[in-house]
């Protein structure tokens, strides 16, 4: 059975990860991919080249700012979080925590009120 990639309930997660990591420091694409691998302890698998269209879209949405800079004697496009991106990150992270807490609560099964016995 073929492995299903990117289940629908994970829509929006890549953006959140990118905003979170770029919120700590500006990075270029390869560096960002390595940071995602390390911080997720290699639990997230993805085609590394697929991150670039997402970075371009986040930039066109005003969440990221890019600039050409020299890194290790090579010119690269370095991305950093914009002010709008910081606000989106705060909102997104809060929503994620609320959703995951709610889902976790459902999955664990709460203490339901005992049914009324006639």
């Amino acid at each position: 059975m073929a492995k299903r990639t990117n289940p629908e309930f994970l829509n929006g997660v890549p953006e959140l990860l990118i905003l979170q990591i770029l919120g700590t420091q500006p990075m270029y694409g390869y560096e960002l991919v390595q940071a995602i691998r390390v911080r997720s302890q290699n639990r997230l698998e993805f085609g590394e080249g697929c991150i670039y269209p997402l970075l371009h879209r986040l930039e066109s949405d005003g969440l990221l700012i890019s600039r050409r800079e020299e890194v290790n004697a090579r010119e690269r496009i370095v991305y950093r979080l914009s002010r709008t991106g910081k606000r989106r990150l705060e909102v997104g992270a809060t929503q994620w925590r609320e959703i995951t807490a709610a889902i976790e609560s459902v999955l664990q099964g709460g203490n339901h009120a005992a049914p009324i016995v006639a």
Partner: protein, 240 residues
Amino acid sequence: MQLQSWLDDIAHSMQQESFANHTISRLTAELADHYYDLMEEQSMSSITHDEVIQRLGTKESILRAAKSQRRDSLPWLYFLTLPFIGTFICFIATTAAIMLTMAGLDYVTTLIVERLGGSAKALEHSAIVQIMVQMIWCSIPVLSTLLTCVLASRILARRDNKVVWVIVAFVIIACLSAPMQNSFSWDRRSMSSGLNISMSLAWLMDGLRIAQITLPMIALAIILRQRRQRSPVSRKALAA
């Protein structure tokens, strides 16, 4: 070269999907940089080109990712026209709103004077109100322009792109200078008023004209600078 043919393959697929050339060249340049970084990372082990490409992702997955993230197909058309159209609409809307408000105030003032039967106090009050109304009528272009600036900056301007601010400033100055040209068409050489007001206004008009000429150049310089900052690695550098 294997990398070049893989990148050409991706570029060709994206061209068939009507992606803009600058989008294609930027993506292929960044993929090339990433490829070389992976090769450096794996330089101690004998990694093959195919293994690096596998880590980057297949051509289909990259194309799928690019298609899923695509936005407007003609971003430059919208970027260049929307600020002007939007600012013009804002200016007309704010001018109409102020004129209707003033017409209403004028009407109410006239009614009040008629009701009070022309008493001295009423006439005095109505004169003050009418002077104020006249002053606001005269300053409609300035008020409309200021309101337009606020509305346009909130609705249209992307705060991270400075070019839109320059375009809005250009439109505002054009709106300001148009009524001033009609009202103050004084010959700079004639000083018949005996005051230097005509000279100051003439200099102001010259300043506005200079601003109208230089602002588009500033906008163009900002656009070119932003393009240079995002320009991809050239094919020559890729082959080096």
